[in-house]
Structure formats: structure tokens, C-alpha cells
């Protein structure tokens, strides 16, 4: 390859967000993938990828959110990704916010758990997402989000 391999940062909360994000790995075969999550122990399952831990946080604790945001920022500075992809929630929002300011491209795939409306974090992340996707056709609209299938 003449071009250097592109660097992708995949970042999410633990549990279902992480499981869904991992189902996008077939799209990543040609890239240098870095993964970040709120669950430290996922290092053991982030097969052969660079892995970073960020603090778990939600809207119920502003202090934890601030610490999480700073940890996400550190990961971005360290990795310098070309593209950031997330399935949510809060760490994905912060990653897209900072990634846009650093000139990276961004993808938000809203969790399939959000059936009736987009996730809270997704609604907030919308303006920082170059590609903004839902996994439910009935939530898609011309002004976004877009529906391009599901992870299952």
C-alpha cells in the first residue's frame, strides 16, 4: 500500500454498546483499529487491537462525566485517529465532539436498543456526526438519521 493505513478509533460504553460495536469489525479489516471502552476487563477480548479504558459515567454524575470527557480526550490525542466510530453512549458523544475539533471524521451508529426514539447521547452527538445512523427504518428521515441496516 502506498497510503499509510488509516487509523480508526472505535469507542463505546460496556455491555450492549460494545457487543454491537464489535459486530462492525468486518468493516475494519484494512485499517489500524484502536478500541476504547468503559469496562477495563474488555482488554482481554479486544483481540489483537490497541485498547484504552475510559471511566464509566452517565448524566447522573457530572463529575464522572467531566473525568470521562478528559480521558476520552487523552485517548484521541494519543491515537490521532482519521475516523472515530461509536455505538454510544456518553463516551461516544465526547469522542465525536473532540474528534470534530481535531479534524477527524465521525460515525455515530445508534444502538438497536433505541426503538421508539434515538438515544439521549445520540441526539446530542448528531451535530458532530458526519455519518449519523439508526438501526430502525422508522426512525430514519431525509434530514437524518440514515438507516443502512443493523448489526444483527
Amino acid at each position: 500500500m502506498i497510503n499509510q493505513q488509516k487509523k480508526i478509533l472505535m469507542i463505546s460504553s460496556s455491555g450492549g454498546h460494545w457487543v454491537q460495536m464489535n459486530r462492525l469489525m468486518p468493516a475494519m479489516e484494512n485499517y489500524e483499529v484502536h478500541m476504547a471502552c468503559t469496562e477495563k476487563s474488555y482488554r482481554e477480548v479486544a483481540k489483537g487491537q490497541h485498547f484504552y479504558h475510559v471511566l464509566d459515567a452517565s448524566q447522573t454524575s457530572k463529575l464522572r462525566l467531566i473525568v470521562q470527557a478528559l480521558m476520552v480526550l487523552m485517548v484521541l490525542i494519543r491515537v490521532k485517529p482519521d475516523v472515530v466510530l461509536t455505538t454510544g453512549a456518553a463516551p461516544g458523544f465526547f469522542a465525536l465532539l473532540f474528534a470534530k475539533k481535531m479534524g477527524a471524521k465521525t460515525i455515530w451508529l445508534d444502538s438497536i436498543a433505541n426503538v421508539h426514539e434515538l438515544s439521549l447521547a445520540g441526539k446530542k452527538a448528531r451535530k458532530y456526526a458526519d455519518v449519523f445512523l439508526t438501526q430502525w427504518p422508522h426512525l430514519a428521515s431525509d434530514s437524518g438519521p440514515e438507516y443502512c441496516g443493523t448489526v444483527i
Binding site: A27, S41, S58
Partner: protein
């Protein structure tokens, strides 16, 4: 064996207590629970707050029935492994989650033959009893889940163009 998992982020005492009451009268059936940061401590089954991914995978694969919240991690793993899932949605009104998205997930995934949605202790007991009887005669077929090729292509094209 029944494996209870509530996820690690939020407590779900209502489900843990409902299964504990079930275990009290079904002593012959071993139950193991991963209960997260809840305050209710089960008296009728062994439990832990947290499991590593490999421990989780081991308990999941050994289980004959998985009892959980309506979380996508459990649903995806359960469908792929062909495990009967008995799931209780977390309710925002009871402080069990930040919103009621688990009711939406419950509505969309309840049509799977291997998934039961329960709202309370009585329904949990009923569904567990039916599932246990079914398992004596036949298992549950696993479902092959595939990420949409269209979604993979969309992401790859975007990365290539960036």
C-alpha cells in the same frame, strides 16, 4: 442451571429479588447470579457483583436458561447461543434506568421464540416453569445473526473517502 445477569452499570434489585423468591421454592435448580451494584443480596443462590468477560462467557454457555434485563448484549448473545432468555425490562419510573428504552426493545424482540418478557415475580415464575418443562423435551434453536452487508459497505466507503 439458571444464570442471572443484570449488567454491571446499574442495580436491578427488583429482578434479583424476584429470582431469589423463585429460587427459594425451587431449591433443586441451581442458580448463579451476576447482580451488579444492587443493594438486595440474594439468600437462595450464589452470586457475584461482577464477572470478567471470560467468566461471563463460561456461565452463559453453561446456563440452560438466562434471566436478565432487556439489554442488547444479553439478547444478541442469547439468540446466537440458542439460550432461552427470560427478560424483565428496566423501568425509568422505578429508577432502574434513565429512560424506558428497554420497553421498546422488549416489544421488538419478544417475537423471538426463545425470548420471554416478564414484568414481575409472578410472570417470571410462570415463564421459568414453562421453559424448564420445554427444555426437558427439546432445546432452543440458535439464530444466525449477521451484520447487514449494506452497513459494512456504508462504513467502509465513508472511511475510504475520508
Amino acid at each position: 442451571m439458571i444464570f442471572l445477569t443484570t449488567g454491571t452499570q446499574l442495580p436491578f434489585d427488583r429482578l434479583v429479588e424476584a429470582l431469589d423468591r423463585w429460587a427459594e421454592v425451587n431449591k433443586e435448580c441451581p442458580v448463579f447470579g451476576q447482580i451488579g451494584p444492587g443493594s438486595y443480596k440474594p439468600r437462595h443462590f450464589t452470586f457475584t457483583q461482577w464477572l470478567s468477560p471470560s467468566e461471563y462467557a463460561e456461565h452463559f454457555s453453561k446456563a440452560r436458561i438466562v434471566v436478565s434485563h432487556v439489554g442488547m448484549g444479553t439478547i444478541i448473545s442469547g439468540l446466537e447461543a440458542g439460550k432461552p432468555l427470560v427478560l424483565m425490562p428496566r423501568l425509568a419510573s422505578l429508577g432502574e434506568h434513565r429512560n424506558d428504552h428497554q420497553l421498546g426493545s422488549a416489544e421488538k424482540f419478544s417475537h423471538h421464540a426463545s425470548i420471554d418478557i416478564v414484568q414481575d415475580h409472578a410472570a417470571l415464575c410462570e415463564k421459568l416453569s414453562i421453559r424448564r418443562q420445554q427444555l426437558e423435551s427439546s432445546g432452543v434453536e440458535s439464530v444466525s445473526l449477521e451484520t447487514s452487508p449494506q452497513l459494512i459497505e456504508k462504513i467502509q466507503q465513508f472511511i475510504e473517502g475520508s
